[in-house]
């Protein structure tokens, strides 16, 4: 029931050249956190898979903390907003 917000999960340089494989690894990471493939799919907002590896997902604070504790995760941060200059 905790409120979810978009978080960016940044994994650094991608570990595979095939973008499909990179995205699949993101889904797997979410799946193992959320417990179901469907929840992982619903939570996923973006998969970053070309220039670097990471994803944006709708997460609660505690879910974000669990991901941040994984050794392969560089940062997990709530989404923030830019403005035009």
């Amino acid at each position: 029931g905790a409120q979810t917000k978009v978080h960016i999960v940044y994994l650094g340089e991608k570990q595979h050249d095939d973008p499909e494989v990179v995205t699949e690894s993101h889904h797997r990471m979410l799946w193992s956190l959320l417990g179901s493939k469907e929840d992982a799919h619903n939570s996923m907002v973006h998969s970053y898979r070309h220039g670097f590896s990471g994803f944006a997902a709708k997460l609660t604070k505690s879910q974000a903390k669990k991901l941040a504790d994984l050794p392969e995760v560089v940062h997990v941060t709530p989404d923030s907003f830019y403005e035009l200059a």
């Binding site: 917000k5 978009v6 960016i8 940044y10 994994l11 650094g12 340089e13 991608k14 570990q15 973008p19 907002v45 973006h46 970053y48 898979r49 070309h50 220039g51 670097f52 990471g54 944006a56 709708k58 392969e72 560089v74 940062h75 941060t77 709530p78 989404d79 923030s80 907003f81 830019y82 403005e83 035009l84 200059a85």
Partner: protein
Amino acid sequence: TTRTWDYLGLSATSPKNLLNDTNMGEEVIIGIVDTGVWPESEVFNDNGIGPVPSHWKGGCESGEMFNSSHCNKKLIGAKYFISAFLAENESFNSTESLDFISPRDFDGHGTHVATIAGGSVLSGISYKGLAGGTVRGGAPRARIAMYKACWYLDDEDVNTCSSADLLKAMDEAIHDGVDVLSLSIGYRVPFYPETDVRDGMATGAFHAVLKGITVVCSGGNAGPAPQTVGNIAPWILTVAATTLDRSFPTPIILGNNKVILGQAMYAGPELGFTSLVYPENPGNSNESFSGTCELLFINSNVTMAGKVVLCFTTLKRYSTVSSAAYYVKRAGGLGVIIARHPGDTLLPCLDDFPCVAVDYELGTNILLYIRSNGSPVVKIEPSKTLVGYPVGTKVADFSSRGPNSIAPAILKPDIAAPGVSILAATATNRTFNDRGFIMLSGTSMAAPVISGVVALVKALHRDWSPAAIRSAIVTTAWRTDPFGEQIFANGSPRKLADPFDYGGGLVNPEKAANPGLVYDLGLEDYIVYMCSEGYTESSISQLVGKGTVCSNPRPSVLDFNLPSITIPNLKEEVTLTRILTNVGPLDSVYKVAVEPPFGVQLTVAPETLVFNSTTKRVSFKVRVSTTHKINTGYYFGSLTWSDSVHNVTIPLSVRTQILQDYYDEN
């Protein structure tokens, strides 16, 4: 842009210049992350442009009022990224929203910056007769790929860009094969460290730069206060805004025949002699009066009806002008004269209502005339366009200033370019557009000027790294205007511009194409930089995708091979190193010339650098010490290597801190 490129020496009519040497950037793809694109604008016509470059892997995405057939050989990419914005703004109604759920631009900002960077050539354009000439981009045949990640929020009347969407846009742009990424987007202080993904642009830019893509960002509009410059990661090319040598003088003729030239974009008819009032209590009234622009609403209609109203304000934002005009017009007034500090944010007023800005000195002259005359009157003539002498170049008041608040040893901004009253294409539904063109100001407008120049330099030197291109642009910049006059920095007070205002100076495209030497950087240098800034080895390793061990002791940030030297805390003597790479004639000999900052002693060794077929890279050392006995502010100088053809100049900024990490306000 009807003046920008001629002003910077990139005239399309010159038979031999960078523009023509590069076929106007035809093989270069400029990616823009912004509010989208208005594809019907004539600035995206592809007349005479060849096939799409073979390295392009992107495409055009259909959506609301936009389909892939809107793309052509000029506008080769258009995608939109909204998922994170929608997830964070649950009240956003995508059916009722004014914005288009597609790459189509509602605001017009994205179309404007795209025009500046790479718009096609269109002659005979003006804003209601003002600023007339030829609109075009810096690289008029470059290809444009628009990545829409900024969305209009109807309720708040603002555009906002989610970090998560921005990152996705940059990730896609990297995949699609853009050569330059242009982002006229920013954040407010306090900023995040470069390795913190909360600064999504810095993270995305890092990976783009490692793949050879130059990332150009606006420095922000939070000037003229110091330490306000944003987008400060050392792999980003950060841009400040200057004025052009162009203004819009608007004659204000007082009843005593004195003519005062204010500034406006007034394109209406001449307002003949009309009563002039400064709302103040005549001494025998119980009514409320205010001559403060933002408080004009407290005056009775009788005070302002049928008159031109003079008011004073200490605020610089444009809304002060528009609200003053609104209050006067609502009361039946016929015009308003606003006395204010220069803010470089000139815009027309709605319905061509006469609203003219003057400074306090001229405003006070008008006030003295009003007070000394029983029936003061004034005439306001339409604005005119003044180009060239005697209009000088200024760093815009709003342009964010250094020093860098995250890493003070990294000079930011890097470079300056025109960003005030720039006429370019926009969405045709935008207020103040004239047949699809509008004048806008901001570092948003300055950044794509640099993106256009980068596109041309890249067309000439495909193998140069983003750092080499940045170095070429910084080391060859003008520290005067193109005509040799000094550049001032608007603010309170106006002062001579320094590197915290404009980095290396005002971009000089022609020289940037042939810099002679460059201060280059690669992945290993960025790793050393992050080690020097104290980032953990594990986070650096993941950022760069390989194991990293920082040296012990950690390296000095002063040795980071930037085209600038900034020492924020000089106490004891320091020695720093730079490495120069020859990109000019193989056999070259360069000699050094130093203009030391006041009270700072600099010794360079060696004083001569010799390059030949086997020696392309040479290092030199700079020993720096201070003679000051107190904590000082920054003093500025320069260091130039010259072979008599090329002058490779970097700015020096040194602050003495006898007592370190100390702040006082005495």
